[in-house]
């Protein structure tokens, strides 16, 4: 069956959440709830909660980044000091721990920040080709969009629900 996408634009978060709640209660067959997306000008955790719990794995990236940054930073410093610097130390420790701790601390933060940003890009699906998705510039201004991907029959039901909640406009496209 043909798979379609529909984007309904609502005036505010209340209307969008009401439409989402009705959509959930309608229990439409063949509607995968993961294919329901909200597009909004600001973040709104309450409306997002209607979608259910969705994972945010960024913290794992942060942990890995900080650990990698700190450990590789220390190892990098220690190996370079041990291999290239030992001749010039005049009896002082070849790998001085207190100064290396300061540098390891900086590397930990550096790794943490860099990998968090990388994690953010991966988890948020960025960069993204905007032309490959339904979008309306009103979303970046003051309207809230609800996008659903499902089969053609299901999309017709979604359309009815949207209309029951004073949807401002709708866009539809065939995905495959």
């Amino acid at each position: 069956m043909t798979v379609k996408r529909i984007l309904g634009l609502f005036n505010d978060f209340d209307q969008a959440s009401a439409a989402l709640r009705d959509l959930r209660e309608a229990n439409l067959p063949y509607l995968n709830w993961d294919d329901v997306t909200i597009k909004s000008p600001i973040e709104h955790p309450d409306v997002e909660s209607v979608l259910g719990v969705r994972s945010i794995p960024i913290r794992k990236y942060t942990l890995v980044g900080a650990l990698l940054g700190g450990s590789l930073g220390f190892l990098g410093l220690a190996t370079s000091q041990g291999n290239f610097f030992s001749q010039l130390k005049g009896g002082k420790p070849i790998i001085p721990l207190p100064p290396d701790f300061v540098l390891t601390y900086e590397m930990l933060i550096l790794g943490g920040v860099y990998i968090t940003v990388l994690g953010f890009l991966i988890c948020a699906g960025l960069p993204h080709r905007i032309k490959s998705d339904l979008y309306d510039v009103a979303v970046s201004e003051d309207q809230v969009g609800v996008m659903v991907k499902a089969n053609a029959h299901c999309i017709a039901e979604v359309r009815k629900i949207f209309e029951g909640h004073k949807v401002l406009s709708m866009q539809e496209e065939v995905v495959q």
């Binding site: 600001i42 409306v47 920040v113």
Partner: protein, 456 residues
């Protein structure tokens, strides 16, 4: 523009339309007042003066700066510390106030973050400039070479380089990530080259719940990293001094003293730029007087912390057993730099008391003058740390009480303000200096809170 209700002024109007927020901020990118071009031209001219002085110093050698032995750092390192200090403004407003949910920061944090980035870029210049032989800066880089020259890993100067690099790159990422939703707004409203520019910067942001969810966590995590990083950066800069044996520098309280000074000058600079941007970009609706009032009160609180730490520094030297350090302190207060030293104390500790008067806090002209004076005081503080100690060290044969920076040094310092101003003004023309989505959030949540109160 009615922000007054029942006698209490609000940080922002709750009934301001979101579309209006977009229009006002986007207009600042296209049609600023003529003052914008005047300020940009002034900054560019100042920058040219700095370039000319640096070119002269490059051609003739470091001697033209009047720096000698023992006065080897002069204004260059004092100004380097000043700019590093200024960079703490963005961290304070963006990260610290973000974590404690102070939402009044939202209309003003973006330009404070930009200040952080450009201050660090300006500070970095002085590391090269103070060498004199700028072409030999590669000597400082840690790479295997036939000369066997390696940086000293036990020196705070190397930690400094690492900390500043980490801070600069993290600040740029923080600024960029925080601006992605606004770049998307610009993309949706721009035409021509600006559209292509914002299309690339926005990375295809569409405001989906997935993007917002991850954005919220990423922004918070980076903010959490930035706070200890900012503290470490200025603590390490303080260690450049505190870990030496020079009289007047070898003081335990230097790191917190430097961090407080950094937050202080950053806050004062936010007030200066707040007033400038408010007028230049017609941001009266967003950069409101209550927000300025809060920033001024925050500045006063930090000024008092700085004053306390300053007194601690004097007391620990005065009552300590280091006779030479005490002599250096007396030399600062009575010697050839006494005028500058007393000015620093007056500007840093007495002038902020003007901020306790509500009437003065509500006067933009007074606030502009006070913020400039506070930053002058903070700049003098850095100069009074560097030069008097060098000119009156342990050995009398190294004393040089006649040292005064030449016009070349003053020119380069002057030029650095032009460089900073030029970058900042360019930024304001390309990137929304008020965060549109955060202002919308602020308006939305305040409106919601009002409805809840009414219902209760």
């Amino acid at each position: 523009m009615n922000t007054v209700t029942q006698g209490k002024e609000k940080d922002i109007r709750e009934d301001i339309a979101w579309a209006q927020i977009n229009r006002d901020v986007l207009a600042s990118l296209e049609q600023p007042r003529g003052t914008y071009w005047a300020l940009f031209t002034m900054a560019f001219c100042m920058f040219l003066i700095g370039v000319a002085c640096e070119a002269y110093q490059y051609d003739r050698g470091l001697g033209v700066s009047a720096m000698n032995n023992p006065d080897v750092w002069g204004l260059y390192i004092a100004t380097f510390i000043f700019w590093i200090g200024m960079s703490h403004s963005g961290t304070l407003l963006s990260a610290i106030l973000h974590i404690i949910h102070a939402d009044w920061r939202k209309p003003i944090y973006r330009f404070a973050e930009a200040m952080t980035t450009f201050s660090l870029m300006t500070a970095g210049l002085f590391v090269a400039v103070h060498l004199g032989r700028v072409w030999q800066i590669y000597y400082a880089l840690p790479y295997p070479n036939e000369r066997w020259t390696w940086p000293n890993f036990q020196s705070p100067l190397l930690w400094d380089a690492m900390a500043i690099f980490t801070y600069l790159s993290s600040s740029i990422l923080f600024l960029y990530v925080g601006a992605i939703p606004d770049f998307a707004i610009c993309r949706d409203n721009a035409t021509g080259w600006r559209k292509t520019f914002y299309e690339k910067l926005s990375l295809g942001w569409m405001g989906t719940d997935r993007q917002w969810r991850n954005f919220r966590v990423a922004y918070l995590v980076i903010a959490c990293f930035l706070i200890p990083l900012a503290v470490s950066v200025h603590s390490i800069v303080a260690s450049d001094f505190a870990m030496s044996q020079q009289p007047g520098w070898h003081i335990t309280s230097f790191p917190p003293y430097f961090v407080a000074g950094a937050l202080y000058s950053g806050c004062a600079a936010i007030i200066t730029l707040f007033i400038m941007l408010r007028y230049t970009f017609r941001f009266e609706e967003y950069m409101t007087m209550p927000i300025l009032d809060k920033t001024a009160r925050l500045t006063f609180a930090i000024a008092m912390v700085w004053t306390y730490l300053n007194l601690i520094e004097y007391s620990s030297v005065w009552y300590g057993s280091d006779a030479v350090a005490k002599e250096t302190l007396i030399q600062r207060a009575t010697g050839p730099y006494a005028f500058w030293w007393w000015s620093m104390n007056f500007l840093g500790s007495v002038v902020p008391f003007t901020l306790i008067f509500k009437k003065l806090r509500a006067n933009l002209t007074v606030m502009m003058i006070v913020s400039l004076l506070l930053n002058l005081g903070m700049w003098l503080e850095r100069w009074m740390i560097v030069t008097p100690t060098f000119s009156h060290g342990y050995y009398p044969w190294t004393w040089d009480h006649t040292f005064f920076p030449s016009w070349v040094q003053w020119g380069i310092v002057f030029g650095s303000f032009g460089w900073f101003g030029m970058l900042f003004m360019l930024f304001c023309k390309l990137v929304p200096s008020v965060s549109m989505y955060e202002v919308k959030e602020m308006v939305f949540h305040r409106k919601l809170a009002k409805i809840h109160v009414r219902e209760a």
